[in-house]
Amino acid sequence: MNESPETIISDELRRCIGLKGPVRALETLSASDVRRYVDATGDANPLWLDDDFARSAGYRGRLLPPILVGWTPFSIKEPEGNASSFDVRRQLPVPAAYTNVRNAGSETEWLKPVHLGEPLACQSRIVDITAREGRMGVGIYVTQVEEVRNAEDELVFTRRHTVALFRERQAGE
């Protein structure tokens, strides 16, 4: 294996910095999605579950838990390299063995509360691609920015998110 941080990023991959996906409507999350979120996290905050409680706090109805805002298109498992995906990261021409994906970090801003059932649309773009060597070997670090807007075209959410792609080992390696 002669992979190194200096050679792993091809010119074709480097040219993808700046690649922007289309604006796509997000699947609207339901009360059932929120219930499954509560089951998974124990976060039974009445702001997510009780319209009357949320109204008493000044909102027009229950809110979407912040982590659920804008996340659907980026978490649904899609095949790597799916050219029709609207997550532009999955379209990148990374080396085929680099399927071990790790969450390296993110910076998120919620600009407005989002209510359950609100229609949202999202657009993402690739802003950086770098490589470095760590304890897991050479990693390709892809940073993308996602922006989510509501029906009034107001920006409600932005996220700058970095994933690290590592070479997947074969059994016995």
């Binding site: 089951d39 998974a40 124990g42 702001l47 982590i67 498992k77 969450n103 970090g105 897991m136």
Partner: protein, 151 residues
């Protein structure tokens, strides 16, 4: 999850928080396959890294499965939104994952106010965040901005 208490009943106010104020700390875990499978189902992410012990040993070189970063972030955010109370709001969150959470590990999150808005019309506080496992090893670090109501 060992902590199922949601403590949103109390409302925090901007005037009550100063740089140096320690926000409520929370500990979650030990991490089980039930936790990670529930999260994988919610996220529709069937990556074996998060539940398949044999696969992660053979293909990822790890001793057992690990929690997804989004799951840890969700638990950290739960701590913050519980602390904020119903009229507070999480505005910004930056997280850097520094070490994995393995099956059996706990996650202890803490937050400390480090900066406060000087403009009462925009009442925010900035906090430093830290996560550690049962051995005290850091698992994540971060910073957030919280908006609180004024009295």
């Amino acid at each position: 999850m060992s902590d199922d208490s949601t403590t949103i009943a109390e409302q925090r106010f901007f005037e009550d928080v100063q740089p140096g104020t320690e926000l409520a700390a929370r500990e979650y875990g030990p991490l089980t396959v039930i936790d990670t499978v529930r999260w994988a189902g919610l996220q529709e992410n069937t990556q074996q890294l998060h539940y398949d012990r044999d696969w992660v040993r053979d293909h990822a070189g790890l001793r057992t499965f690990i929690a997804s970063g989004a799951y840890r972030q969700a638990l950290l955010m739960r701590m913050l939104t519980d602390w904020l109370g119903p009229r507070g709001r999480l505005r910004k969150l930056g997280i850097r994952h520094t070490y994995s959470t393995f099956e059996g590990d706990t996650m202890r999150f803490t937050a400390r106010a480090v900066e406060k808005s000087e403009d009462p019309a925009d009442p925010w506080i900035a906090c430093e965040l830290e996560g550690a496992n049962q051995e005290g090893r850091q698992i994540l670090t971060g910073r957030c901005t919280l908006v609180l109501p004024t009295r």
